[in-house]
């Protein structure tokens, strides 16, 4: 009836500082990393606890010792991944550089980061689609990076846009529309890569990304002209 009490309620009270260290913290990290790789490769539902254990070089029971269940492990990995994906956008957009520079930086940061984690977008989008309830739990992750709260960034950007539009320097546009377009053009190509390559016949993906990185900022800035 009552919860399966096995472990200290929250999970593993911090043992005498001398006790853990290296080995222990290392194990948890190793499991996390292995889980991230496997979840990204197979998807949450397609991943097998055994495969994660093998990839982390530990016994399968250890996964349940550190994380309660597959679902809990999946959630932990998702939070990290989703946070990672969004922090890029927010950190750059919140800076105090001129708009043109922020946009260019945003594109560059996204393409550079995603080049190193090309399957991240596909994984996160799949997770969003099949487990939207997980999103509730990333509020904290969203607040942690020094970014001053999404809402305020958005409002600031909206004011910026409105002011410049009134001054005739810019085409009027809502921040919520612009940000989505910006993120779309940076992130989507990574998630859809195999299909785009196949259908559009893009043989050299690296060159394609180079070109995109070079030309996308100009394209976007041009779209904002009055």
């Amino acid at each position: 009836m009552a919860k399966p009490v096995r472990r200290p309620s929250t999970r593993r009270a911090p043992p005498p500082p001398a006790a853990r260290r290296e080995d222990d913290a290392d194990t948890e990290r190793r499991i996390r990393d292995a889980a991230r790789r496997v979840f990204i490769r197979r998807g949450t539902a397609g991943a097998r606890m055994q495969e994660i254990a093998a990839e982390a070089n530990v016994n399968q029971a250890l996964l349940h010792y550190y994380f309660r269940s597959k679902d809990a492990l999946a959630l932990a990995v998702f939070r990290e991944a989703a946070g990672h994906l969004f922090s890029v956008l927010l950190r750059v957009l919140a800076s105090d550089r001129p708009l043109e520079e922020r946009i260019t930086q945003c594109v560059h940061h996204y393409i550079d980061t995603l080049r190193e984690h090309p399957y991240l977008p596909g994984y996160v989008l799949a997770e969003i689609t099949f487990h939207p309830e997980r999103i509730e739990s990333i509020a904290e992750v969203m607040r942690s990076p020094q970014a001053p709260e999404v809402k305020s960034i958005l409002a600031q950007l909206d004011r910026d846009f409105a002011r410049r539009a009134r001054a005739g320097e810019m085409r009027p546009i809502r921040a919520e529309q612009f940000i989505v377009s910006l993120a779309s053009m940076c992130v989507f190509p990574f998630a859809a890569r195999p299909m785009l390559q196949h259908v559009l016949g893009i043989d050299d993906w690296d060159r394609y990304l180079d070109a995109r990185r070079r030309e996308l900022p100009g394209f976007i800035l041009n779209a904002l002209r009055p």
Copy 2:
């Protein structure tokens, strides 16, 4: 050793025309439709044959009778879905209307179609990410809608762009970059919807889509100005 021969090699030779009809063709379609709904809801790996059978109101063994295996069923569903997602783009882009109109139509068609199938993008992107090998098999689907072969549309568009760029009517851009941007801005928001709504605080998604449908064409056309 040899293949499990159970059924007529390819699958069910067309029985005497009188025999099938309605009931039979209907069953296959019913299974397909149920499978599509379940796969889109749970993802390929997360879907259970039993759930599909229940949703189609048939015995689970029938799924294996009509489609050999879960994998084969998943492939059939994916082909349909991916074809559906791409035919929108190609059919409109291949028309002989002026460029401005084609782009506007593209945005409208995409948003209107995806509004009716909001989870399609998430499903297809997940499938692409975790089963890229499935893409090989959609070549035929891609050719069938009267669209005159993707390659030629792309080439045509590239010539168009180049000509107008030389005439100073347009900013030079490669078709392969433009099409990806266009598709990104239309499709991505649907795949990322729950996250976008949550992070950007978009409460009324319908209104948001209305605004996007209205403003995106202008945004894109503006980006193409010289």
